[in-house]
């Protein structure tokens, strides 16, 4: 099942931590946003394969924005 992973906060993409094709467990870090001087991880909501990343490092992300798509097991 395709699941959109959304960011719950606004921030800037600081570091991408996974590549499309990676198999992720629930809570594995997909990327780290910088928000209010903190490094906030965005994690996989469930186990699955990372299908797509919709943002790149340095991009600004809005609250609620879809930042990745996961194909869950």
């Amino acid at each position: 099942m395709r699941v959109d992973v959304k960011s719950e906060i606004a921030g800037q993409v600081w570091k991408i931590a996974a590549t499309p094709g990676d198999k992720l467990a629930g809570d594995d870090v997909i990327m780290i946003l910088e928000s209010m001087k903190m490094e906030i991880p965005i994690v996989a909501p469930k186990a699955g394969t990372l299908v797509d990343l919709h943002v790149a490092e340095q991009d600004m992300v809005a609250e609620g924005q879809t930042i990745a798509t996961l194909e869950t097991d």
Partner: protein, 523 residues
């Protein structure tokens, strides 16, 4: 002439009333994955404890000979019952009769629920499902022109509002809830909705006609909307979970505002000092941590689980609010979640806090405050949301508190917003990781020393130098030296320190009689 026939008719009416909307309506309801109101009441309450009010309320249907043929029950069920041995009052719409839109007897019973709660001073649970007023009206005859309520009648909203200061009110949305039932749903201290529930002011057809939007009930008012809007506190995985959450919520509270919460025998030791607390806050300030883990390591464990019961997680998520126990005594817990904007207080978090503190004061719950506050949220969205006003109102609510407060400063306490975490006469513990000041270092240095930095040979280096100097000035040690905090502690000591405090604070607080909480206007 005996009364046997009439007595027989009483029994008959009671039996007919329990059929609710009839077999077909009940079956159709089950097919949608929902329980009937009588099934819900049965599952919520202790076995056989339901003592119904107004069993005979409803509309009879007579045959040509004047004999009772059928009986449409009042489509609101109401009565007394017990949850884990404690008396409560429970009511709810019967969706199988007119989709819960009230028939006349149903309307009377529904507005009576709050009056019963106020009269008997018992917790009130309402299980909502259904629409409110219909254009067709409550009357069974379509041609009647409604006379309206008497101009001197007391509005049903009077007891609805009064209950919130008098008794714990817990509600659930177990299907679509629209109009007046939605207003009653949210007039509670704790509300929960199931995945398939929707809470609406008005449904899709009315919205389409007035505004042109074509949206389903779920899109307008499903959990993805109302857990975030703050209208509903928690999500239930199914109806049984909704009942379990309501029962759990009530277990922390007294029966009414004139009593203190019952104490439980603790299943945990006073001296439990968790090693994890000493390293859970990263030394690198850019790294976040899980405040919920800290809370769970400190408050009572109950068997395998924590006594911490979180409320309104998705609303104002930078602030954590919930109930817990410490040494068997009920407490309220607040804490910053640095995963959201470093824990900054947003307009929503401020409103959530104000409401939560009023609730704590209403039911005599001591507050444990785990502090990691960088200040009010900054930036254009926060300004437009009026955060400064909502935040100041929250601070007012905190400082008008009458319950005991204990504060554990875990990390940041900056800005005006920090004031919202320290109640009057609070017991203040500081961890070695604590840092306090007017502004966090990162923002403050760039502003206060702008000229000096610009004039330096290596501005970036000079800025870092100044930031390091200032970080040192935010150290908690001088605050302990000057008795600005009570104690600076090894984080592992948090639980026994708080328990020692709570025993004394509760004893002092409970010497006064328990009375309802009143507050005057706030910002």
């Amino acid at each position: 002439m005996s009364w046997d026939d009439a007595i027989e008719e009483i029994k008959q009416r009671r039996a007919l009333a329990k059929q609710q909307g009839g077999e077909a309506a009940v079956a159709s309801h089950h097919e949608k994955g929902r329980l009937t109101i009588r099934e819900r009441v049965d599952r919520l309450l202790d076995h056989n404890s339901f003592d119904e009010i107004g069993e005979g309320a409803g509309v009879p249907d007579y045959d040509a000979d004047g004999k009772l043929k059928d009986f449409q029950p009042a489509n609101f069920i109401l009565g007394f019952g017990k949850i884990n041995g404690r008396d409560v009052i429970v009511g709810g719409e019967d969706f199988t009769v007119k989709g819960g839109s009230p028939n006349p007897a149903g309307l009377r019973k529904s507005v009576y629920a709050e009056q019963v709660a106020l009269q008997y001073k018992l917790p009130l649970i309402r299980l909502h499902e259904g629409g409110g007023g219909s254009v067709g009206g409550t009357s069974q005859e379509k041609n009647r022109r409604p006379l309206g309520e008497p101009v001197f009648a007391t509005s049903r909203f009077v007891p609805l509002a009064q209950t919130l200061g008098a008794v714990p009110v817990a509600t659930a949305a177990l299907g679509p809830v629209a109009g007046l039932p939605a207003a009653r749903l949210v007039a509670s201290h704790f509300s929960v909705m199931t995945e398939n529930a929707a809470v609406l002011i008005a449904g899709p057809q009315v919205v389409k006609r007035a505004l042109g939007h074509e949206m389903t009930k779920e899109e307008l008012g499903g959990p993805q909307v109302h857990l975030r809007s703050g209208a509903i506190d928690n999500l239930a995985s199914d109806e049984d979970d909704a009942m379990a959450q309501i029962a759990r919520f009530l277990s922390y509270l007294p029966d009414n505002a004139w009593a203190f919460a019952p104490d439980k025998t603790p299943d945990d030791t006073i001296e439990r000092c968790e090693d994890a607390l000493a390293s859970i806050v990263p030394t690198n300030r850019r790294q976040p941590f899980q405040m919920r883990k800290i809370i769970e390591l400190v408050v009572d464990r109950e068997g395998e689980a924590s006594s911490f019961f979180e409320m309104s997680r998705k609303y104002g998520p930078s602030l954590i609010t919930g109930l817990a126990r410490l040494n068997g005594r009920s407490v309220a817990v607040i804490g910053n979640d640095c995963m959201y904007y470093a824990g900054a207080m947003t307009a929503e978090a401020a409103q959530k806090l104000r409401r939560f503190i009023d609730f704590c004061n209403s039911f005599h719950l001591p507050v444990l405050s785990f502090v990691d506050e960088p200040g009010f949220m900054i930036g254009p969205d926060s300004e437009m949301a009026g955060t400064i006003r909502h935040g100041t109102a929250a601070i007012s609510a905190v400082l008008q508190s009458r319950v005991p407060w204990a504060c554990v400063q875990v990390l940041k306490a900056f800005g005006v917003a920090a004031q919202a975490h320290f109640g009057p006469d609070a017991y203040v513990l500081s961890w070695p990781s604590a840092a306090s000041g007017a502004l966090p270092v990162e923002g403050g240095v760039a502003v206060a020393f702008a000229r000096e930095i610009a004039a330096a040979d290596d501005p970036a280096a000079r800025q870092k130098e100044l930031e390091d100097m200032l970080a040192a000035s935010q150290s908690p040690f001088p605050r302990a030296e000057g008795l600005s905090v009570h104690e600076i502690i090894d984080p592992r000591e948090t639980r026994p320190k708080l328990i020692a405090w709570l025993e004394r604070a509760n004893a002092a607080y409970r010497r006064q009689p328990a009375t309802p909480f009143m507050a005057t206007m706030r910002p």
